[in-house]
Amino acid sequence: MRNTLRKVILPSIMLILAYGFWVSPDFKEISAGVAIFLFGMLALEEGFRAFTGGVLEKILKKSTNKMWKSLTFGFTAATVMQSSSLVSVITISFLSVGMIGLVEGLGIVFGANVGTTTGAWLIAGFGLKVKISAYAMPMLVFGVMLIFQKSKSMKGVGYILVGLGFLFFGIHHMKEGFEAFQNSLDLTAYAMEGMAGILVFTLIGIIATIIMQSSHATLVLIITALSVQQITYDNALALAIGANVGTTITAVLGALSSNVVGKRLALADVLFKVCAGILFILFMQPMMGLVDGISSVIGLADDDYTMKLAVFHTIFNVIGVIIMVPLINPLIGLVTRLFKSEPDIHAQPMYLNEASLEFGDTALEALRKETARIYEKAIGVIAKGLSLDKQDILSDAKLKQVIKAHDKAVEYDIDEVYEHEIKSLCSAILDYTNRLSVDEATSRQVSRIRLANQSILITLKDVKHLQKNMLLYIDSENPHISAEYNRLRQRIAKVIRRLENIRSQEVTATSTSILSLDALKLTLEKNMSLLHGRLDELIREGHISADMAISLMNDSNYTYSIINSLIQINHNHLKSEEGSETEAEHLIALNREEINSVLSDEREAAERR
């Protein structure tokens, strides 16, 4: 039924559009503008994709890892581009390719909102407006030239330029198409007093901005109308509020071609601007008093309404951001609930299929490969959860340096990845194992794989718990607590690196992968007792508060559990294949008591020395 509907809907829409193009050239121009704009978004995302995991991502992460940094970033970008909606659109592309998170994205959008006020000052003061569409053609030319280059980063820059070019070009065509309606926009026709006037003019502001695709253009219109007294000062303020709401249309259009995260950002942007608008409409009188007060302080004449409009625009955006920043988490919660993400396409099992179910060995191999894939993903999630980078952990760089280079807490939603990727993959594995009919020996191996997957889930849950205080303390002003938390991060990173070495070990005369894990178990136990000793000292010396001590105690337990689970995953997965040597390795592998006995022997030997 759904497929049939799909088959009918698309041709119908195309037919309606074709008829519209035939009837109205303006409609054709607007639609082409939207199409070019959307294509620009795709090109832009493709361009930014080339830089994921590279320099741009690092710069972006560094310049948005704190709320004030995101705000500054957005403010600067909007001031330079003279368009907050373009900054929102670019932010959506950053988000879509996972270069930044939703919190950082919202910070940029909020900052851009404040940045757009510089435009209001320029327009009100000098009647200036930077015309970005003039850059579209050179951008397209240089962009296409760069796309043909071999280098990945050159191609990336090319796609970004082409994307921006098409965005500007699309907006230009939309504006051209709407010009027919723009000329019929006579503001005097709607002049009204009181709350009704405010509401009507807010609506006009929204519509005018949607038509002109630019809050700047609306501002020019407002200021011109205000200067020739076509509209009252109150109505002008309402128009400015409406322009601010209407400008979200660009972000909404941009989100159409984006994934669910981009849509969330666009919705959050709309909600933010609508809420700020409602608030200002409700408190219009006190706000006008505030504008008068500030205007007299900065020496503006009482009747200099155009400059007062710029003051209002600034207050409106700054107060809006001040109110919304503390509410960012509930806002994210709301948009996440409204836009629930479907399981990611990458979350589909790659190796498990119906055909291999029939053959024990093939099915086992598929299970092993799928588990290895989930493990790889999980390591990436763990790294991000610890505000680290997987590639850096697995590099040759000294881990102390790696930790030092990532000394700032970076928010990362583990639950999101857990729910939408890892959990569904693990469920697919469990489901697959339940459908296998195997003999006793194979069932032992299947059970090991199942255990490995369960350990992956446990590890991620533990990292989530650990993350809470870790984000608080890794860049704490108390050097003792930050050192301890960074030590916990380093320990986990070290184990991940050593496990990677063991996993990549080639079969040699001395390779005993499962048994190599025992050395890690020993280090784990040893570090745990060292930490207990150090913790006592930190409390005794008063270096950390009781709260910190409790957090550290709990989190060291989580760290212990994470490392232990990582070892278990590898223990169960590494050699899940049956064989006399593998079985022998499983038999010889030391248990916790045996590890502790090696540890106490070591201690005794050290004391004797």
Binding site: S511, D518, A584, I588, E602
Partner: protein, 90 residues
């Protein structure tokens, strides 16, 4: 009813392996343990050589730890192997 020779041989082999399944398994375990123990012995030697050549205190400590672990594993393996052989001889 007549069996041809090939089929007879096949059936006899199956019967024999069925009767000796436990012995065969013990034999396999013995082989596995012996192989791993040999590997561990080599690993022990290799680690000793590495420790002797290592100048970095931290790395040496880590290698020594690993050596202790390998030593314990070997001890455990030898115990397991001897008990297995006792079981076989009974």
């Amino acid at each position: 009813m007549k069996f041809d020779n090939a089929l007879k041989k096949k059936l006899l082999k199956k019967l024999k392996s069925y009767m000796n399944a436990e012995a065969e398994q013990l034999q396999q375990e013995d082989e596995g343990l012996s192989k791993v123990l040999k590997k561990l012995k080599k690993k022990e030697k290799h680690l000793k050589a590495l420790i002797a050549a290592e100048r970095d205190e931290d790395v040496r400590e880590m290698l020594e730890q690993e050596l202790n672990v390998v030593h314990s594993q070997r001890k455990k393996g030898i115990t397991l192997l001897s008990s297995l052989r006792k079981k076989v001889s009974k």
